[in-house]
């Protein structure tokens, strides 16, 4: 039999007819559709029992309350807590994305690392916790044997007054070193401002939700300033269409930050001249008699010129701002337009519950004490301190103190030494700790 083209065509037609008379093409079509929805790289949480665990976010010093949704033992979602005083249900994008830090182990350390190359080379190897603990314990006890426990310094990045921070501070005390160092942040400058102006060491607290005019001196309200979950929630309240009165946000910042771009008004003075602007606003407020005279008379000191007990005369706040910080003078310093300064001062003083906030950006860096004082003076001028929608004077949290450490002779001797950073000395009387500058 001669095999020709016809035979091949018959074979193919027979095959095609046969395959179509089986479930293969029809079921495969269905399966391929399901397969495309089940790519192995698409993360799918396992099925299991849902549960919620309440916790506190530690990704920034804000300390928002969070609720973690879990499927069996696996965390699958981070949400803001609604039953927590810091943040009424709000959470910031970083807190929400915290799971990525948990599961992407390539972007964080999962255990102790030991430097093996020269300093700065970035060469580290993973070591066990046992090795890490014994190495550090050996080095510390060695310093103590040499009689110089003060050579141990700890740089602590945990939030102020957190349990971890207290523990590290106590460890240093027990070892005998005064050199417990924290990276100064806006919180420290706020504490110093309160200490100098109000005699309390508590942090600065703002009733943002009830404020109707927010004069932000560089505070990154939308970028992680304060407790982000709460501040962003307050921002939402200020801009709610149903709100009785909308709050006005004025951002004073040299940089066109996200907050500046979303604020109702943005003023960009030359970097570092914010304090002068604050005093310039005070000039207009005092000159136009827009300040709260009752509050100033009853609760302030040094507004007018005064004389100390030795008969020495001192210049008062009023004289200083009226003499040296007129809109024209301030415009010269800050690079702003005089009529903008006047208008801003009048708006601020005319608002019902105006707040001037300080602490630039996320508040991770300390600011100028003088600048913070100048800004806080504005709050005092409008009498919006300890009022709803104002600045609240708060004492440090009333936590019961931890038991005293039992210091041995070496520790007691070490604690008598000066701090390396001169914090609390005559040079930096209000500072508790600082990393820069180290003057010898």
């Amino acid at each position: 039999m001669e095999i020709n083209r016809r035979h091949f065509i018959a074979l193919i037609v027979g095959g095609a007819a046969g395959i179509n008379a089986t479930p293969l093409p029809w079921k495969s079509t269905d399966d391929i559709a399901i397969w495309t929805q089940n790519w192995p790289w698409v993360p799918v949480p396992p099925t299991g029992e849902f549960s919620h665990v309440k916790s506190i976010c530690t990704l920034c010093p804000g300390g928002c309350g969070i609720e973690v949704r879990k499927v069996d033992d696996r965390a699958v979602k981070i949400e803001g807590r609604t039953d927590y005083p810091v943040n009424p249900g709000g959470i910031c994008p970083l807190g929400m994305g915290g799971l990525q830090l948990l599961y992407n182990e390539s972007i964080r350390f999962t255990g102790p690392m030991k430097r093996v190359g020269p300093r700065g080379s970035g060469k580290f190897i993973a070591i066990t916790w046992d090795e890490a603990l014994s190495t550090i314990a050996y080095r510390i006890s060695d310093l103590r044997k040499q009689g110089r426990p003060e050579a141990l310094a700890a740089i602590d990045g945990n939030p102020t007054m957190s349990t971890m921070a207290s523990m590290i501070e106590r460890l240093l005390k027990a070892v005998g070193s005064p050199n417990y160092v924290r990276i100064p942040s806006a919180e420290d400058t706020c504490r110093m401002t309160n200490l100098v102006m109000q005699g309390t060491e508590g942090p600065m607290a703002y009733d943002l939700e009830n404020a109707d005019y927010i004069l932000s001196f560089g505070s990154g309200l939308l970028e992680g300033w304060g407790a982000p979950g709460r501040v962003m929630n307050a921002w939402g309240l200020w801009h709610e269409h149903t709100a009785k009165r909308k709050a006005r946000v004025v951002q004073i910042e040299s940089r066109a930050s996200n907050t500046a771009s979303k604020a109702d008004q943005w003023l960009a003075p030359k970097p570092g001249t914010e304090a002068a602007l604050a005093l310039g606003l005070a000039h207009v407020i005092i000159k136009d008699h827009l300040y709260n005279a009752d509050f100033v008379d009853a609760y302030s000191f040094g507004f007018n010129n005064w004389a100390s007990s030795d008969g020495k005369k001192h210049m008062g706040y009023k004289t200083m701002v009226l003499n040296s910080y007129s809109p024209d003078q301030v415009a010269e310093i800050t690079g702003l337009i005089p009529k903008d300064i006047v208008a801003l001062a009048r708006d601020f003083a005319g608002a019902k519950t105006p707040i001037a906030t300080c602490g630039k950006g996320k508040g991770y860096l300390n600011g100028s004490l003088y600048e913070f004082m100048a800004v806080q003076s504005l709050n005092a001028l409008v009498g919006n301190i300890n009022m709803p929608g104002g600045v609240l004077v708060s004492d440090p949290p009333p936590l019961s103190p931890l038991p005293q450490t039992q210091n041995d002779t070496i520790a007691s001797e070490g604690l008598k030494k000066h701090r390396l950073d001169h914090a609390g000395s005559g040079r930096y009387p209000f500072s508790k700790s600082q990393c820069i500058p180290f003057y010898s």
Partner: protein, 244 residues
């Protein structure tokens, strides 16, 4: 032209085979069309029969991979109240729910966790029965406090929202309606997983053609819809009821 016209008239008389022959024939103008030669039929069948074998027999064998369950579980034994004290309930569904329970929030727990087994099998040293499976269970899982990695026969894709409580409690459906006689088996059936989709064979059904005789033979979307329609609940066939 004339020839073509007359030949087409002729083909309509001799039927389909001649017509087919006409298509594969290039003898233009030929008025006489021979039937398929024997050889052509052989080749047609040589294509047809193997493809039928591939589609009906080899394809299902290749598509599904058979995986053993970690151990056997005797549903019939555990559901017998005369043997097992802990099984309570008047109806079969209630007895199923003693282990395949609803959680406090109303979600369905599915395959029980080890904790559930430990409610009765709490001592690895003293078996409650005499079966080798129980021995294996006590030594391998209870003693080591390890969860049994059961393979689920009835897991739906993640894009499908299915609420057991809506069907069992509110809809008053029996477990059997969808799960058949699973609760009466002494041996767990073979678990077969679709290599392409990763889902159990029970979703498409064990019949490769998708042919079903019982309500529990298949768990595709059409089967959900069929039951909804039969129970006058056509509104539940809307997309977002299940694909949320």
């Amino acid at each position: 032209m004339k020839n073509q016209a007359s030949s087409s008239q002729k083909t309509s008389k001799v039927g389909l085979i001649s017509l087919f022959n006409r298509f594969i024939s290039f003898e233009k103008g030929s008025t006489f069309l021979p039937p398929f030669s024997f050889g052509v039929w052989i080749f047609f069948l040589a294509g047809l029969i193997p493809s039928l074998i591939v589609g009906w027999i080899i394809y299902p064998m290749v598509l599904y991979s058979k995986q053993p369950q970690p151990m056997n579980f005797n549903h019939a034994l555990h559901l017998n109240p005369e043997i097992v004290d802990g099984i309570e309930g008047d109806t079969e569904t209630e007895r199923c729910l003693s282990c395949h329970a609803f959680r406090e929030d109303g979600t369905f727990a599915g395959i029980p966790k080890l904790d559930k087994c430990l409610e009765c099998h709490d001592d690895p040293e003293s078996p409650l029965g005499e079966t080798p499976e129980e021995q294996e269970f006590l030594t391998k899982y209870v003693a080591e406090e390890r969860e049994i990695p059961w393979l689920s026969y009835y897991r739906q894709p993640d894009c499908v929202y299915f609420s057991h409580i809506a069907h069992v409690k509110m809809g008053d459906q029996d477990c059997e309606t969808c799960h058949g006689d699973h609760g009466k088996t002494e041996k767990l059936p073979a678990y077969k997983v679709n290599r392409m989709t990763g889902y159990s064979i029970n979703i498409w059904g064990r019949n490769i053609a998708g042919y079903k005789t019982n309500t529990w033979d298949r768990m595709k979307m059409d089967d959900c819809a069929e039951c909804h329609t039969e129970n006058d609940l056509e509104e539940n066939n809307a997309c977002f009821v299940c694909h949320k």
